[in-house]
């Protein structure tokens, strides 16, 4: 009876929005089911991991964003501090830091910020791989949000607990259930910071590619090329990463290498953008006939399949000598 009353009161307090029930949240339930199956502990997942060496920067008021960011960046060897990062992410009027700016500050510090799949299992696999994720939690409720960034540094499937670097607490232990609820209210948002040349083990192709594209904005050509190479290594068919490889080689003055990269993408994907860039680089290399052939292919392809590049391709073809 008492329990039922508590449940009713709880439901009322939570706002009757239907999201808050006393059921175990779905991902926790699924994980536990996987663990309960004899002889299996999830998809090859270590039963318990804690990255004790991850540094801790106790946050000052409202500065959980810079603190969480410093935690993961210093962990991968970047020399920085929450004070330095505050200038890059803190938004005074909002008394906090926005998600896109967390990713942008990561790239400005020389690392890739790669958003992760919205799965507890993905977070745990990253922890096991030594990539502690930054997680966005809403510690309050949908209608009284209290947004908070923390860093997940450990989990224990048997105990059903996670360990976070959170706020002013060095080792905040939290049950799976509470963690999943607060993280789900942050729309399951998380990212891992990795040095260029590496990628989070669970990252999806689109997220990894976007991270490399963002990184290209602020990184040196050599570092940006490393980022694209790591994407190509895992997804050899990525047209965008191939294009990025060509663009960063070109930016670094390696015209031959750029032409090779563009040619590979052009032949494999018949992409107008790749033909276009190949033509431009060949023209600059003085290979006029080859440049013309590539530009004609770009125009043809743009006319039939990729109208977005028609203007650029036609302009390029017109501008070619002879």
């Amino acid at each position: 009876m008492l329990n039922r009353r508590a449940a009713l009161f709880g439901a009322a307090a939570v706002g009757l929005n239907g999201c808050a029930t006393f059921d175990t949240p779905p991902q926790t339930a699924a994980l536990m089911k996987g663990v309960a199956v004899p002889g299996s502990s999830g998809p090859g997942m270590a039963p318990a991991v804690e990255l004790a060496a991850v540094p801790f920067f106790p946050q000052t008021r409202y500065h959980c964003g810079p603190a969480a960011l410093a935690t993961v960046l210093v962990h991968i060897g970047v020399k920085t501090s929450p004070e330095q990062l505050a200038d890059a992410v803190f938004l005074p009027a909002r008394e906090g830091a926005l998600q896109p700016e967390m990713l942008a500050a990561t790239r400005r510090a020389g690392a890739l910020g790669v958003p992760l799949q919205p799965q507890l299992a993905a977070l745990f696999q990253e922890v096991a791989a030594g990539n502690p994720p930054v997680v966005l939690q809403n510690l309050g409720l949908a209608w009284v949000p209290r947004w908070h960034y923390a860093v997940l540094v450990g989990y224990d499937l048997a105990q059903q607990t996670v360990v976070l670097r959170s706020g002013t607490v060095h080792r905040e232990r939290m049950g799976f259930t509470l963690f999943e609820r607060t993280w789900a209210r942050g729309r399951h948002w998380a990212f891992a910071a990795v040095p260029p040349g590496r990628l989070p083990v669970t990252a999806g192709e689109a997220d990894a590619t976007q991270a490399a594209i963002g990184f290209e904005r602020v990184a040196s050509p050599a570092q940006a090329e490393q980022a694209y190479s790591s994407v190509l290594q895992r997804w050899p068919d990525s047209a965008l990463a191939g294009l990025g490889q060509g663009n960063t080689r070109f930016a670094g003055g390696n015209l031959r290498g750029a032409a090779e990269a563009f040619e590979r993408v052009a032949l494999k994907h018949d992409s107008a953008a790749a033909w276009h860039n190949l033509a431009a680089v060949r023209s600059q290399l003085g290979e006029t006939a080859l440049a013309r052939a590539a530009a004609e292919r770009a125009v043809q392809r743009a006319a039939t399949q990729e109208p977005n590049w028609r203007d650029a391709a036609e302009r390029l073809l017109r501008g070619l000598p002879g």
């Binding site: 896109p100 947004w147 259930t177 904005r217 431009a280 977005n308 590049w309």
Partner: protein
């Protein structure tokens, strides 16, 4: 949007579109013609480059002005906007006052205090350091 903000946004927009023209210039390689303009990876990643590019120049200017209006210095705002991808800039421009801003704000009034105390104890929230969820 206030008049001042509009003027600020326009000024920033103009200076930024100029800056992006300069930025878009190809890297000069010794002994080669400077006319090579490549399609950037970011442009290739979006479906409608022409339209999006225009929107994004505006979005970037809006973001810089909006960051400044919310307490970020002029220099810091410029550097911060430059590090955003086009999609991120557009998102920030549209959502700057609604998007989650992780910060640990603890400004809770009394009724909400009581509600959150209960939800903390029931294991739905984790506002107060002294609570321990019953589950």
């Amino acid at each position: 949007m206030t008049r001042t903000r509009r003027i600020l946004a326009t000024t920033v927009a103009m200076s930024m579109s100029f800056a992006s023209l300069v930025h878009a210039a190809p890297p000069t390689v010794a002994g080669t013609s400077p006319a090579t303009v490549l399609i950037t990876t970011e442009q290739a990643a979006v479906s409608q480059p022409g339209r999006v590019l225009l929107e994004q120049t505006l979005a970037r200017a809006d973001v810089a002005a909006a960051l400044q209006a919310r307490g970020v210095s002029v220099d810091a705002a410029r550097d911060r906007v430059a590090a955003l991808t086009d999609a991120e800039a557009a998102h920030v421009a549209a959502q700057i006052d609604q998007a989650p801003a992780g910060g640990d704000a603890l400004g809770v009034i009394l009724t909400i205090f009581i509600v959150l105390l209960v939800t903390d104890i029931l294991g739905f929230t984790k506002i107060f350091p002294f609570t321990r969820s019953i589950r």
